[in-house]
């Protein structure tokens, strides 16, 4: 019986039927479905002990007290630290991404040296430090040859940096401009205040935010939010009234009892308008310049004049004044993105008039932690240095460019107002060094990148972030070993100092912090375990109302273009220092960013006036640059105002932020504020043209 076709087929059929009586088909079917649960290219979870390690996170501007969740020692999540008053268990959307940012593709993996335009070679730390030491040696001799920019205005690391600069004979130590700087300078120079000013929101029963988007991006956001939480119990009547005054219905405005639209640049005028009403109703202050202040506000800030300057109707102004007067413990929290002293001083004067200075639930002057590094610059001087003004002067050729510029945890190329002018100023520096955790715009153009560890990998601290109403000190210890070739910047600087023959008195930054903790009278172990050191008590002393400055500075700048700009910072998008983290793009609305184009917001009336509608492509042109955007019609913006989002338009970083939207810092106009001499960009105006 030979094997013909038919027999073979029969044989094969038999084999097939036979296989059905074995487990093969059934097992394979089952295994294939199990395989789909277990695909090799889907990552596996890590096993191990689960714990939550406290530290501080400096990703947002004010810093968050966090607990880092780890599995088998590896960080994976971040939550608030309930035991720390700075957090109360809450967290901001930037620090919530902390563990993810640790492994972000944008991290600088090791020291890098520039070898050509946009080209970098990895170098060893030794080599890199050698190069930097040589540069600094040659720059020594003569002030103005070196520049240090710090993006962290609450850390002891600054003492190391500024003392190092001082030993080099350099006074060019700057903070990135921000609320703390504007307030600090206005407080000291305009109002003769001392200590660090803050606001005891927790104990207030009526909070008026003038331009301070306090429940989303201003000051110690999480603590502000916790104060709001405490005074607004669930399902019951609120214990405090919150009012937000500003050009845009921000997230703060969304939960406040009232939103008072005030034109951009009109914050000071609005506050002085309120002051005028208060004074008319008998308010007074023991300040030396009260009389001058009184005649100023009664003459120049009548409700009618204020309406012209700010767009706030007399009745509304009276209503806000009434709310303040009727409250037991009101507090005014001034603050607006845009530097300048007037906005702060006018709001602070209002607090003084209300009798709320150094009062419970009012505006307070807080003591500052003693310095531990000898030769370090005091906060008064450091806050007084105006980086934007300096770089603008360098760009214009009015000041000499530094030979070495060092940038720590800051992104001046991106985040300064009139960004293109400022980065041109920085570019004039002979040699730029970036101490950055991430490949940000500044690092991407620097001559040398010396990567800093992520906050979870280093020692760091937080000294009373601006806005707090109580002296507070928090410590952060490393949660995990760095996985990359990075070194803590203050340690690097201490090493450099030794190399250059300086004696800063410390060998490691950990020792500096230990000295600091001892100096304030805290307990290292408790602080390292996540507790905050707090101390009540205020700095007493009379203050002035700043009438002399306000008389010049409180008037809105003359418009140079038809539409006023109201920059809006949303913390989930990023800060000036940290771009959008990997998990945050999904939290950005499609009315804020569509594909790679950002949206600017105008109300119907403005849209009509500009001849644009929902989805129109527009170009915004300011004095220093231009931006592209789509129009989103939103009725929470004052007429004549365009709300622009900060935090977009990165050209470095990673795919989660790079090439998305445009950098609105470019279209802000930096100018010198009359009276205070500070650089301000409040009340910038732009042309909006349909594309």
């Amino acid at each position: 019986m030979g094997l013909n076709r038919r027999r073979f087929i029969t044989f094969a059929v038999g084999g097939a039927v036979g296989s059905l009586f074995t487990p093969v088909i059934w097992k394979l079917t089952d295994d294939v479905s199990i395989w789909t649960q277990n695909w090799g290219w889907i990552p596996r979870l890590k096993k191990g002990a689960d714990s939550a390690v406290p530290t501080v996170s400096k990703l947002c501007a004010s810093g968050c007290a966090v607990k880092v969740e780890t599995v088998g020692g590896a960080p994976y999540g971040t939550k608030g630290n309930k035991d720390n008053p700075l957090s109360g268990g809450g967290i901001c959307p930037l620090c919530a991404s902390g563990a993810q940012l640790m492994n972000s593709p944008a991290r600088v993996k090791g020291p890098m040296k520039k070898t050509g335009e946009g080209k970098y070679d990895p170098v060893s730390w030794d080599e890199a430090l050698e190069v930097l030491a040589a540069k600094l040696k040659s720059a020594a001799g003569g002030d103005g040859k070196a520049l240090f920019i710090s993006g962290d205005d609450s850390g002891t690391a600054n003492e190391v940096f500024s003392a190092f600069m001082a030993k080099l004979g350099q006074s060019g130590f700057y903070y990135m401009p921000g609320e703390a700087q504007a307030a600090g300078r206005a407080w000291r120079e305009t109002m003769n205040g001392s200590g660090q000013v803050g606001f005891d929101i927790e104990d207030s029963d009526c909070v008026l935010f003038i331009g301070a988007d306090a429940l989303d991006s201003w000051g110690p956001t999480v603590r502000n939010q916790k104060a709001f939480d405490a005074t607004h119990p669930l399902g019951a009547e609120a214990a405090a009234k919150y009012v937000y005054a500003g050009p845009v219905q921000t997230r703060t405005a969304a939960v406040c009892d009232k939103w008072v639209p005030v034109a951009p640049g009109g914050a000071a005028a609005f506050a002085l308008g309120l002051a005028a009403i208060l004074i008319k109703n008998g308010a007074s202050a023991s300040a030396a310049d009260f009389a001058e202040f009184k005649s100023l506000v009664l003459a120049k800030f009548t409700p009618g004049q204020v309406e012209k300057m700010t767009g706030v109707k007399a009745a509304v102004l009276a209503d806000v004044a009434k709310t303040l007067m009727e409250a037991q413990r009101p507090v005014v929290v001034p603050g607006a993105l845009g530097g300048g002293a007037a906005g702060f001083a006018a709001g602070a004067a209002l607090n003084v008039l209300l009798g709320r200075f150094n009062a419970k639930g009012g505006m307070v002057a807080l003591p500052q932690a003693p310095k531990v590094v000898s030769g370090a610059m005091g906060p008064a001087q450091a806050l007084g240095n105006d980086l934007a003004g300096y770089l603008a002067a360098v760009a214009a050729g009015k000041a000499k460019a530094p030979e070495v510029a060092m940038v720590y945890e800051a992104n001046p190329v991106y985040a300064l107002p009139q960004a293109e002018t400022m980065s041109a100023g920085l570019a004039k520096a002979g040699f730029v060094v970036s101490f950055s955790t991430y490949l940000d715009e500044t690092a991407a153009g620097a001559d040398l990148i010396l990567p800093a560890p992520h906050p979870y990998e280093r020692f760091d601290d937080l000294q009373t972030p601006y806005g707090l109403g109580r002296f507070t000190y928090c410590l952060g210890a490393p949660v995990a070993e760095p996985q990359l070739d990075v070194r803590s910047t203050p340690d690097v600087i201490l090493g450099l100092a030794a190399k250059l023959g300086q004696d800063l008195g410390f060998e490691t930054f950990e020792d500096v912090l230990k000295a600091k903790v001892e100096a304030i009278g805290g307990n290292w172990d408790e602080l390292a375990a996540g507790a905050a050191f707090t101390r009540s008590g205020q700095v007493s002393g009379g203050v002035s109302l700043g009438a002399a400055t306000l008389g010049q500075a409180a008037f809105p700048a003359k418009a140079t273009a038809p539409v006023a700009v109201a920059p809006v910072m949303r913390l989930n998008v990023g800060s000036g220092h940290v771009a959008t983290p990997p998990h945050n793009p999904t939290t950005i609305r499609d009315t804020e960013l569509k594909g790679s184009v950002m949206c600017v917001q105008v109300c119907k009336a403005t849209a009509k006036q500009l001849g644009v509608s929902e989805g129109s492509k527009v170009k915004l042109t300011g004095a220093g640059g231009e931006c592209k955007a789509l129009v989103h019609v939103f009725e929470g913006v004052m007429p004549g105002v365009v709300a622009v989002p900060l935090g977009f338009g990165h050209t470095a970083w990673d795919e989660f932020s790079k090439g998305k939207g445009d950098n609105v810092n470019k279209i802000l106009t930096a100018r010198i504020e009359p009276g205070s001499g500070l650089t301000t960009w409040a009340g910038s105006t732009v042309n909006v043209a349909k594309m």
């Binding site: 079917t29 294939v32 479905s33 395989w35 789909t36």
Partner: protein
């Protein structure tokens, strides 16, 4: 060249011409196969579907072809159970159409589910409360029944039929066909209904949700009725298309007219209930959940024109045309009515699939629109091409039309 394979006594075009035609069909098949690979390799993300439109073109396509394929079970039922003998002249075609529609729908479903490797879970881990479980069971079972009904036709192919075993097998299957048809009718009725039930039970989707009888929402019965109201005339349309393409008469006109009459009667019955249902939904159910009839529609894409077209232009009008002998007996009008009837059912399946989920139920949500992309169109065309292929081969080599020889005798 392949004339030995042709059915007894009929003429077919040359093999070259036929191959040319198959080549044209093959282009669509290849395009679809490419798309299928891309989809299986990347994930369904390459389609135009999204989190709002989890169902889209594919589900609409499946539901439509399953409804239009209903000619198979209903004609079979009339022929073998109710013994309307005239239908034997077209019943083979309805079986082939049914087979194409059901197997095609299953192919698309394999792409449509996110985890094809787990497709058998529907059997192993069934949720007896889900209408979709009923659909999965009935469709796969009925597809097997259709294969059983199709097989004797294949065995009757001239060469195959010489093999005694196959001849006897085909004969015996014919003898017992009534049994299979009975099973098929039962399965088919249930899954046509379950497909409707799938939407009717959507308690969170006011556009589709319906009260009902026992465990079945009204849409269950409406879908059965609408399927039997369109399936027969769809078979007539396909038959006519075949006649036009081949240039031969395949089925007597009076058979087609009879099919039209059957569909017309069912369409009348369907429209009666459908209009009642729509009325009760618009005036009773919607206000009870705080919605109005007008809120169910949006712009042109989900405008009322769709509903009016479905109900009147493609519902009431073809119903009247099909039950009026004078109209029905005029071929062009019969075909027109048949086209309208089929369009109405496709619109029905489309709005139940897409408009149901496009409607924002949350008051602060917005209408969303859905446009299928190439990755969805390509497999759909692939199924059409697959249908054309099966139909062409069947027509060329199998004795599908018993009357063809007689009608074309010169």
């Amino acid at each position: 060249m392949d004339s030995k394979l042709f059915p007894e006594g009929v003429q077919r075009c040359s093999l070259g011409k036929f191959m040319l035609w198959l080549g044209a069909v093959g282009v669509f098949l290849l395009w679809g196969i490419y798309a299928a690979f891309i989809i299986l390799y990347n994930g369904i993300g390459v389609t135009g579907l999204d989190n709002y439109f989890g169902f889209g073109l594919w589900i609409t396509f499946d539901l439509a072809v399953i409804a239009l394929g209903a000619g198979a079970f209903f004609t079979g039922f009339l022929k073998y159970i109710l013994k309307i003998d005239q239908l034997k002249n077209i019943v083979n075609l309805t079986v082939i159409i049914g087979f194409i529609c059901y197997s095609g729908a299953m192919l698309v479903l394999t792409l449509d589910i996110g985890q094809p490797g787990r497709a058998w879970f529907g059997y192993w881990h069934p949720n007896v409360h889900s209408m979709l479980t009923e659909v999965i069971f009935c469709i796969t079972c009925y597809c097997m029944v259709l294969i059983i009904e199709y097989l004797p036709l294949i065995f009757e192919q001239k060469q195959l039929n010489r093999i005694p075993f196959l001849r006897h097998l085909a004969h015996n299957m014919h003898v017992n066909m009534a049994l299979f048809v009975g099973v098929g009718t039962y399965l088919s009725t249930f899954h046509q209904g379950s497909l409707g039930g799938m939407y009717g039970v959507l308690i969170g989707r006011p556009y589709a949700f319906r009260e009902g009888f026992f465990i079945w929402p009204w849409t269950f019965f409406l879908f059965v009725l609408s399927a039997v109201a369109s399936g027969p005339v769809f078979a007539v349309l396909i038959c006519t298309l075949l006649e036009k393409v081949s240039g031969k008469k395949l089925v007597e006109y009076k058979v087609k007219s009879l099919m039209g009459k059957i569909a017309g009667s069912m369409l009348c019955l369907y429209m009666f209930f459908k209009l009642l249902d729509t009325w009760a939904w618009a005036t009773g159910y919607l206000p009870s959940v705080g919605l109005t009839f007008d809120e169910m529609f949006y712009g042109n894409i989900y405008g009322k024109w769709l509903m009016w077209s479905e109900l009147f232009l493609c519902g009431v009008i073809p119903a009247i045309m099909l039950i009026t002998p004078a109209i029905r007996n005029r071929p062009s009008l019969l075909y027109l009515a048949a086209i309208l009837d089929c369009c109405g059912i496709v619109i029905n399946r489309y709005v139940f699939t897409v408009q149901t989920i496009a409607l924002p139920v949350l008051p602060f949500d917005n209408w969303q629109t859905y446009v299928p992309n190439w990755a969805e169109w390509a497999p759909s065309f692939m199924i059409l091409a697959y249908g054309a292929l099966v139909l062409s081969l069947s027509y060329r080599y199998l004795p599908v039309f018993p009357q063809e020889h007689r009608l074309n005798a010169k």
